[in-house]
Every structure is written in structure tokens, then in C-alpha cells.
């Protein structure tokens, strides 16, 4: 038996039974899972968690499933890398990278949310899973859906470059290329979700799916020795991840595992798509939609569904929001790779570059414990680096030719 007592509208508080629904039929607000924390408190302990396998299901009492996990059995529990080199470069004492570039099985944090979504889809009795995506989500639904034995429908805009869809195609889902842009694909998927009894992970399964993001927060706290950090910097697209990481720390306190949860939460966006950072800077809870134009494609949501809640979490926690240019994003990716040996996707460049800015501006203190969330692998967004890398040294296959170049290298060091 699970610990979920129902669903509840975040806006008007109306309650619903646990079903594949996601929007309040009265006021159109988003639905959220409600847990019985009193029962959870009795059921879990640090020790019980520590004795479990190293995957995201070690926190299963705080995830919205009723039975045993049925997907993503090896997902989560990625390294929390102590980033001493980067810390030195940025002028702070204690800095960590939550490294989801090595998430199993498709190298982004989406493996967490999809693990929860597919388990829930099994519990609801669905045989087909679906999503609209241009990247990480499509990869994860394609892969994990294959392993869990689902029929899979992946909807993409027809204009998407072939190089971007290989990482979905290899898992042989039903790939549907829609003649339209991403918004058209999303709108169509909402209609399909109404007509067909399929589990659209980020539509009718969204309240459950989104909860999977909390596991990043749970893991950070456990890996810091059951302590919440002073600061966490989170990339924002829809804003959901940020709200869930914040919720994770608060929940661990609620169930008695953490003594304190005073983490300040910081939103990281690209300047070319910064509706959440802008709202935070202007101190207004009205999120003004923008037309995205940035190399950080996985963050390019101009009208973020959870923007308001992300704004609220940042404000309530005492955090802030910042945005960075495409040049700063690439510089952030290179800095992370050069100092810590981690190749992040563009979103990781956003987070690193924003962290740097926040430290320079004094929002993040030099003696505080800060965690940077790096949510996807750089091999997925290689094209963002085209023409922005240094060239190899070309030589002839002779020792002379090599030593000539070596001399040049030594001189420039």
C-alpha cells in the first residue's frame, strides 16, 4: 500500500481521487498529489533508506505509487561531485555538482520522472505511453517504455533535425512527426490524450510524473550527510523541477529526517528564454510569455506551466533568479568540463554560468554550501558547440612535426 491519500487542486483546493487526471475541472488549476505524512513518518527512517539499493526508489514512500516500482529500477542516485576545482575558480569554499549527466538509462534527469510515470501508468492499467518532446523526455520514454513493455507513441515536430531523433529511434517507438511547431504538437497531444486511453507522461500522468523530480532533492540531502544545502541552483524550463527540489527538502523535514530545511532556491535561465528569471527580478507573479531564442533548447519554454509556482518557491526560500547569454552558456559548459571533467548539455552551461553570476553579485555567499544541478549529458547537444571549440593541432606522422607543435604549445602555456 502506498501513502497517497488523493489529488488536490493547487489553486482552489478541491480534492479528487487518484486517477490519470491533471487539471481541476472547476477552476482549471493543476492537480497535485497529497500524501499522508503522518504514516510516512512512521514508515521511513534514514537507516531504512540507507540499507536500500542505490536508485531513486529508495525514497519510495515519498513517491506517488501504490505497489512496488515497475520501471526505472536502476535510475537515480547519481553522484554528488565535490567540485573543488570549480569552487576555486568561482571563489567559494564548498560547491557540489549534482551530476545527472550519467543518469540511467538515457543520461538526463528525465529518467527520474519517467520511472515514476511509467510505474504509475502500469498501476493505472495503461498499455500505451506517449509524450510530446523534442529531446530528453522522448529519449527516456522511448527507452524505459521499451524495457517496461509498453507500446510507445512519441510526437515530435516534423522539422526536427534527424540527428536529434536517433536517440529515440534506436528504441523503435511509434515516432509521429507532426507538420507544425512544438506548440502545435502539444495542442494535438492534449486532444489525443482526451480521445485515447493512453498514458501521456507529461499530460494526464503529470501530477505523478512531476513528483519524480523530488528524488534529486532527496539524494542531495542524503549525499550531504542528511543535510539540506544553503543554496541550490536549478535550471528552469516549465519551472516544475525547481518547485519539486524545494518540496523535497521540506518533505524530508516534515517526516522528521531533516532537522532544518532552509535552502535558498535559485532559478537559472537563458537570456533568450527567461520568463521566470524576469518575473523574479521584477518581483511580479505574472509570468510574461516570451518567444524562445537560445541554444539551451531543453529550457526553451516561453510560457512555463509552473512558472508561477517556481517564482513563489524562489521568493519564499529567499533565493533569486538570473539569466545568461548563449556565449556565457558555452563558457559555462567549457568551465565545468575544464575544471571538473563533466560534459553537460547546454542547460548545465546555463546553471554553471548563472551560479557564477550569483556569486559575483553576492546572492550566493563564499562560505556557504551550494549545489548546482546539472541535468543532462553534453553528448546530446553537441551541435550547440559547433564552431565554438578550439581546433586540434594537425601534424605529419613524424617526431619532428610533433615536437614543432609541442614547442608551440609549451610557449603558449
Amino acid at each position: 500500500m502506498g501513502f497517497v491519500s488523493g489529488l488536490k487542486c493547487r489553486e482552489c483546493g478541491r480534492e479528487y481521487a487518484v486517477e490519470p487526471i491533471y487539471v481541476c475541472e472547476f477552476c482549471f488549476g493543476p492537480l497535485e498529489v497529497v500524501y499522508d505524512y503522518q504514516r510516512i513518518k512512521k514508515a521511513i527512517s534514514k537507516k531504512r533508506i540507507e540499507n536500500r539499493d542505490e536508485n531513486l526508489w529508495r525514497y519510495k514512500e515519498l513517491l506517488p505509487i501504490d505497489g512496488e516500482p515497475q520501471a526505472g529500477l536502476y535510475s537515480g542516485f547519481t553522484p554528488l561531485v565535490k567540485a573543488n576545482n570549480l569552487a576555486k575558480e568561482l571563489g567559494v569554499k564548498e560547491l557540489y555538482i549534482k551530476d545527472d549527466t550519467v543518469a540511467h538509462p538515457t543520461f538526463s534527469f528525465k529518467d527520474r520522472v519517467v520511472a515514476v510515470a511509467l510505474t504509475k501508468a502500469k498501476e493505472f492499467g495503461f498499455d500505451t505511453v506517449a509524450c510530446a518532446s523534442t529531446g530528453n523526455l522522448a529519449h527516456s520514454v522511448s527507452a524505459q517504455g521499451a524495457k517496461a513493455g509498453f507500446d510507445r507513441f512519441i510526437f515530435i515536430p516534423a522539422s526536427l533535425e534527424p540527428s536529434k531523433i536517433v536517440s529515440s529511434q534506436i528504441f523503435v517507438p511509434n515516432l509521429i512527426a507532426v507538420d507544425g511547431n512544438y506548440d502545435d504538437v502539444n495542442r494535438l497531444c492534449s486532444e489525443i490524450a482526451n480521445k485515447y486511453r493512453w498514458a501521456f507522461v507529461n499530460i494526464n500522468i503529470r501530477p505523478f510524473y512531476a513528483e519524480g523530480s523530488k528524488t534529486i532533492g532527496f539524494e542531495i540531502a542524503e549525499q550531504l550527510g542528511w543535510k539540506a544545502p544553503d543554496n541550490v541552483v536549478v535550471p528552469c524550463a516549465s519551472g516544475s523541477l525547481l518547485t519539486k527540489i524545494w518540496k523535497a527538502f521540506k518533505e524530508l523535514k516534515e517526516v522528521g529526517i531533516l532537522k532544518e530545511a532552509r535552502t535558498r532556491v535559485f532559478a537559472a535561465q537563458a537570456l533568450g528564454c527567461n520568463p521566470i528569471a524576469t518575473a523574479i527580478k521584477n518581483d511580479t507573479d505574472v509570468i510574461r510569455p516570451v518567444k524562445p531564442d537560445t541554444i539551451a533548447k531543453s529550457l526553451a519554454i516561453g510560457n512555463p506551466a509552473d512558472g508561477y509556482y517556481a517564482y513563489k518557491a524562489v521568493k519564499e526560500s529567499g533565493g533569486y533568479g538570473e539569466d545568461v547569454t548563449d556565449e556565457e552558456i558555452v563558457e559555462g559548459m567549457k568551465m565545468l568540463a575544464r575544471t571538473e571533467g563533466i560534459f553537460a548539455e547546454t542547460a548545465g552551461g546555463v546553471t554553471v554560468a548563472v551560479t557564477r553570476k550569483l556569486i559575483e553579485q553576492g546572492y550566493i555567499g563564499k562560505n556557504e554550501v551550494t549545489v548546482i544541478c546539472v541535468t543532462g549529458n553534453g553528448l546530446k547537444t553537441k551541435e550547440a558547440l559547433d564552431g565554438r571549440m578550439h581546433e586540434p593541432k594537425y601534424i605529419k606522422p613524424t617526431l619532428d612535426s610533433f615536437e614543432e607543435v609541442l614547442q608551440e604549445i609549451r610557449k603558449n602555456q
Binding site: 489553486e11 482552489c12 491533471y22 487539471v23 481541476c24 475541472e25 472547476f26 477552476c27 482549471f28 488549476g29 493543476p30 534527469f109 509524450c131 510530446a132 518532446s133 523534442t134 523526455l137 512544438y182 502539444n186 497531444c189 492534449s190 507529461n202 499530460i203 503529470r206 535550471p235 528552469c236 524550463a237 516549465s238 516544475s240 523541477l241 505574472v286 510574461r288 531543453s298 529550457l299 526553451a300 519554454i301 510560457n303 512555463p304 506551466a305 509552473d306 508561477y308 542547460a347 541535468t375
Partner: protein, 93 residues
């Protein structure tokens, strides 16, 4: 000529199945309350304490009223008002 008001599917149960109804010129919030007198229950679905609900978007001639004058946005004869629920969905992080 009046103000044209487009009603989304989930609210058409309240408007006798009509997808378009006529509204009264003036402030948006007054227009909503006036519709409520003819189609009871409409106002509380769309607004709360005189404010448009967060997940309901209202457009006047294609522009979101949040970027006009909010609930006090004035509409006149011939204007087109659309009520559109923002269905939380989306993608990404």
C-alpha cells in the same frame, strides 16, 4: 452590435451549449458578472473575489488582459473576448 465572447468547451454546459455569447461593453470583470446573471455559475468558474483565476486566460482581440489593464480592461462594441483555460501541461524541466 455587442461584445463577442468565446466560451471554451468545459464551460459551454453553463451557456446552453453555445460557443459564443454576447457580452456587455465596459470592464471585463463587469462583463463576466453580467454574463453570470444570464448563465449562472459562469463567474465563479472564471473568477474569484473579483479577480480572474490564475489558470484562466482572457484575451481581448488576441491580447492577454494581464498585459492590458487586467480585470479593469475596457471592452467596447465589436471587440472579441476569448476565455481560454490554461491547461497545465508542457514539457522540459
Amino acid at each position: 452590435m455587442a461584445v463577442k465572447v468565446r466560451i471554451p468547451t468545459p464551460l459551454q454546459r453553463l451557456t446552453e451549449g453555445k460557443a459564443e455569447v454576447e457580452g456587455k461593453p465596459g470592464k471585463i470583470i463587469d462583463l463576466i458578472n453580467d454574463l453570470d446573471s444570464r448563465y449562472p455559475g459562469l463567474a465563479e468558474r472564471v473568477s474569484e473575489n473579483g479577480k480572474i483565476r490564475r489558470f484562466v486566460n482572457i484575451y481581448v482581440n488576441e491580447e492577454d488582459i494581464r498585459f492590458l489593464d487586467g480585470e479593469n480592461t475596457e471592452v467596447k462594441d465589436g471587440d472579441e473576448v476569448s476565455i481560454v483555460p490554461a491547461i497545465a501541461g508542457g514539457r522540459g524541466i
